[in-house]
């Protein structure tokens, strides 16, 4: 509830005034949560109807405790949301959403990744490296781009509503 209120305050015209980084990551955390809501994973990904949706953060955590506060009590359907901090050497395929901060080298992470993981990154070449969604800040607003080919490869179905909001959609084959 608080998160949504926050999200709505982070609106165009308001700027990232006093603590730009923490505010930026609060919004990005909210984006992560919203991505989970507009994405469908293959049914075999979850063992039961209440199997939690796991958001993994590989490498250095830029969110601090804000992400944990955000997902506390939130559910996707009947599934609770769990945040896990991981190292690049860990088995990253266990996550449904994997956030790759700027500080983590992208190619190493994506190389060993299995399917059915929604990868979200920040670096410029993230989509070209095979990532699914790249978050960016434009005109003091958080925006995102989508690599639909990568999403299809990972057997993920992304809502058209979400796609409608994307700044850019990378797709080799015309839909």
């Amino acid at each position: 509830m608080l998160v949504v209120a926050l999200l709505l305050t982070v609106s165009p015209g308001r700027g990232l005034a006093e603590s730009p980084t923490s505010l930026e990551y609060k919004v990005k955390g909210a984006f992560l949560l919203n991505f989970a809501k507009f994405t469908k994973w293959p049914a075999e990904e979850f063992a039961a109807t209440n199997t939690p949706v796991t958001i993994g953060i590989v490498g250095e955590d830029p969110f601090g405790s804000s992400l944990d506060q955000l997902v506390a009590g939130e559910t996707i359907g009947s599934r609770p949301i769990v945040v896990k901090r991981l190292k690049p050497a860990d088995d990253l395929s266990r996550c449904q959403i994997l956030f790759v901060p700027k500080s983590t080298p992208v190619t190493d992470v994506l190389k060993h990744l299995g399917p059915s993981v929604l990868t979200v990154g920040e670096s410029d070449g993230f989509l070209d490296a095979g990532g699914v969604i790249r978050l960016l800040v434009d005109d003091k607003k958080v925006r995102f781009e989508v690599n639909l080919d990568a999403a299809q490869r990972a057997h993920l179905s992304i809502s058209s509503q979400l796609l409608k909001l994307a700044r850019n959609i990378k797709q080799t084959v015309a839909p």
Partner: protein, 794 residues
């Protein structure tokens, strides 16, 4: 308007009603239809709006979640395709306006604050809708839509009214056409009826009838109208005839009254009661009775005091008191008195009086006189008669009483019969005067009831009854009961007689009778003996005849002549040869002896014949005697014999007599079967009948004495033997007496033969009957014997 409509002709009214009705119905249905369509249209619009709201809300979830205002406005702008949508507003979760859309571009059309989620309101020509925007089960915002219906509805109504007007115009034309055609069915009969009604009213002619064409209410109305006319016509006729009748009746009644008055006057004059109106005992008005019965001319009575009719002042005053005294109190007075006739004879009279008008005594008193002399005389006669009857009844030796189930009336003898007073009898039941049971063992009460009921039922009863006297002694009575009706009441008249003495006498008589029977049995034996002697006597006659004949023949026998021949031969003992050859006497001697021998031989034959007959007679006697012995032993010997043999025997027994008297016997036998008979009895009867016939022939004295014996059968199983002679005959008065004991017409007869014959025939189950057409006409005696003897043994 209303009044002018009322005065329309019915044709127009009908058409107007039909047109108005059809138009109103059409209009209503059209309005209903349009309204229904409109409602449906609005409903449809609502539905569309809801769908639209759902789509927009769904498409706004992502924009709302990511706070992407421009994307949300893009989505809302898509509503341009729907021209009816005026405004669209999207609110955030906290109620802040997130994105708006307005057809005319203004911004102020969104309501402040969050409209209630999901509700739809419709106001005037606007439709509004709010929808919550839901993501993942969470309310993330609200969408508000407003649509304008007006242009659509106006266009729709325009179309509908145009069509409605066209349809109404067309249907009115059709209705006009149809009503013009159809109204005749209703208006024509009514117009016809109205025409007839007008004619009837104007002409007062009730014989006109309206034509009845249909069976509906109009038809019924016409029928009822016609019926009404019928009734009016009938009533008219009835009224007229009633009027006539009434006049006639008044006339008749007047006649009747006149006749009645005349009759009453006639009655007053001619009533065989003197009717007088008196005022102060003076004759005021009188009818003819006094004149005719008492001989006073009318003019000599009117105005006179009634005193002239009485013998004395005392009587006149007494009658006055009696007649007028009770008048005030009771309204009527009555008295008997003697009145003097004009010729001076006194007559019994009954006077009754009443006021002419009760309320006005001064108007006079009606006094009715009637001469009751004859009635008085009859009364006296009746009383005398009753006394006589009572005397007769009371002095009758029989007890006489009347009863139902109890005694009502009885005479003196009845009191004597039961040895009690009249009071002990009247009102009591006859059972009280009877022992509990009668000699035959029956209950007295039961038996008495049966007898009385039978008498009530009209069957006269005569029976013996045992009664109990008051002192308890039993008496035997002979009672006769007869049902009688006296004064309409059914009663039983009983006559009783004490027969106790007679019963005793009867018992004595029965005893005597028994003795007499014994005596008569002895007498019967004597009778039989007489019969036997008679029969023996008859045979003895034959024996006597035979004996006399034999003795005469022997006496006259020429035996002495033989002695003379012997004497003559003795004288010529020495010269017998010479004598026989030479002497003339001697020469004739041989011839003489020869003749003598011949004569003696004949004589012997005759005597032997007679002796045989004698022998037969004696045998008959023996048989008679034997029969008597049989009879005495009370059993006849029954043989089955040919009846003709018996008849022949009977003829033979009388043969001598019949030959002597030159009776010619004719036999007419028809073959008959053998009959079981007591031979001697039949023979006796037949011998007796033949002999009687012979006597009758002798007495008849004619030259042609003929005896016919006829044997035959009749149809009833009887053999009939008839002995018919043409002799002296029997006079009718004697025909019934010939079989009586002791009746005879002959000097030597004893009147026993036919009597015993008839008895014997009866004993054998047959009969003996006599028939004669009168003196000189001969007689027929017929013996009937049954073919089969009934066992009639004593």
């Amino acid at each position: 308007m209303n009044r002018s409509f009322q005065s329309f002709p019915i044709k127009r009214k009908l058409m107007a009603v039909m047109m108005l009705t059809s138009s109103a119905a059409l209009l209503l249905s059209c309005v209903g239809f349009v309204g229904f369509q409109l409602l449906g249209y609005i409903q449809n619009e609502k539905q569309n709006l809801a769908t639209l709201g759902d789509v927009i809300a769904a498409n706004s979830t992502a924009a709302l979640s990511f706070g992407d205002k421009s994307s949300a406005e893009d989505t809302l702008r898509g509503l341009k395709a729907e021209p009816s949508i005026l405004n669209a507003c999207l609110y955030g979760r906290d109620g802040t306006l997130f994105a708006t859309y307005s057809r005319d571009g203004s911004d102020q059309s969104c309501p402040p604050g969050i409209p209630r989620g999901g509700s739809e309101t419709s106001e005037y020509n606007r439709l509004t809708l709010s929808r919550s925007v839901v993501l993942n089960g969470q309310n993330i915002g609200t969408l508000w839509l407003q649509a304008d219906l007006a242009p659509e509805v106006v266009a729709y109504l325009k179309r509908a009214v145009t069509i409605l007007l066209c349809v109404m115009g067309a249907s009115s034309l059709a209705a006009l056409f149809l009503s013009r055609k159809l109204q005749h069915f209703i208006s024509d009969p009514i117009l016809g009826l109205a025409k007839v009604a007008r004619v009837v009213t104007e002409k007062k002619d009730y014989s006109i009838r309206a034509k009845q064409q249909s069976g509906d209410e109009t038809g019924l109305l016409i029928g009822a109208f016609n019926e009404m006319l019928d009734q009016i016509q009938r009533r008219d006729d009835a009224l007229r005839s009633a009027n006539d009748l009434l006049e006639k009746r008044v006339q008749e009644r007047t006649e009747e009254l006149r006749a009645s008055e005349a009759t009453l006057l006639g009655v007053f004059r001619a009533t065989p009661i003197g009717i007088n109106i008196m005022k102060g005992r003076v004759f005021h008005t009188t009818n003819d009775y006094l004149t005719e019965t008492f001989g006073y001319p009318k003019e000599s009575i009117i105005g006179q005091s009634a005193r002239m009719l009485y013998e004395s002042d005392e009587e006149f005053n007494r009658v006055g008191r009696e007649l007028y005294g009770g008048l005030q109190a009771k309204g009527v007075g009555a008295v008997e008195t003697m009145l003097r006739r004009a010729d001076g004879v006194m007559r019994n009279a009954l006077l009754t009086s009443a006021f002419l008008y009760r309320e006005d005594p001064s108007a006079g008193v009606v006094v009715a006189f009637s001469d009751i002399t004859e009635i008085k005389r009859a009364e006296t006669a009746l009383r005398d008669s009753e006394v006589r009857y009572r005397t007769v009844i009371d002095n009758a030796s029989e007890a006489i009483w009347l009863m139902t189930d109890t005694f009502l009336e009885c005479n003196k003898s009845a009191c004597e019969l039961w040895a009690c007073n009249r009071e002990d009898i009247i009102g009591h039941s006859p059972v009280e005067f009877s022992p509990p049971t009668q000699p035959d063992g029956k209950s007295s009460a039961q038996a008495a009831k049966e007898r009385i009921d039978a008498a009530f039922g009209g069957e006269p009863q005569l029976f013996y009854w045992q009664h109990t006297r008051k002192d308890g002694t039993l008496i035997d009575t002979e009672i006769s009961l007869t049902g009688v009706t006296i004064g309409g009441q059914r009663l039983v008249l009983a006559i009783g007689r004490d027969v106790t003495e007679r019963k005793r006498a009867q018992a004595e008589m029965e005893n005597l009778h028994r003795q007499l029977l014994d005596v008569s049995r002895c007498a019967g034996m004597a009778e039989v003996a007489t019969n036997v002697l008679h029969n023996v006597g008859n045979v003895l006659n034959s024996v006597n005849v035979s004996a006399t004949l034999v003795s005469e023949k022997i006496r006259e026998s020429p035996v002495s002549s033989l002695a003379k021949v012997v004497a003559l031969m003795r004288t010529h003992e020495n010269d017998l040869a010479a004598f026989l050859t030479q002497d003339p006497k001697g020469r004739h001697l041989c011839d003489y002896l020869d003749n003598l021998a011949q004569y003696l031989g004949k004589e012997q034959t005759g005597i032997v014949h007679e002796l045989k007959s004698l022998n037969a007679d004696i045998n008959h006697i023996k048989e008679i005697v034997a029969m008597q012995q049989n009879y005495a032993r009370a059993s006849g010997i029954v043989d089955t014999l040919p009846i003709v043999d018996l008849v022949e025997d009977a003829l033979r027994m009388n043969n001598g007599a019949l030959v002597r008297h030159q009776v010619h016997v004719v036999r007419e036998y028809i073959a008959t079967p053998s009959v079981p008979v007591d031979k001697h009895k039949v023979l006796q009867i037949l011998v007796n009948l033949v002999r009687n016939a012979k006597y009758a022939l002798d007495d008849g004295g004619g030259n042609d004495k003929r005896l016919t014996v006829r044997v035959g059968m009749d149809g009833d199983g009887f053999v009939k033997i008839s002995i018919i002679d043409n002799g002296v005959g029997i006079p009718p008065e004697n025909l019934t007496r010939v079989f009586e004991y002791g009746f005879t017409t002959r000097k030597a007869g004893h009147g026993f033969g036919l009597h015993s014959g008839a008895l014997a025939a009866k004993e054998m189950g047959g009969s003996l009957s006599a028939h004669s057409d009168g003196p000189g006409q001969g007689a027929t005696f017929t013996l009937s014997l049954p073919l089969h003897q009934e066992c009639e043994k004593p």
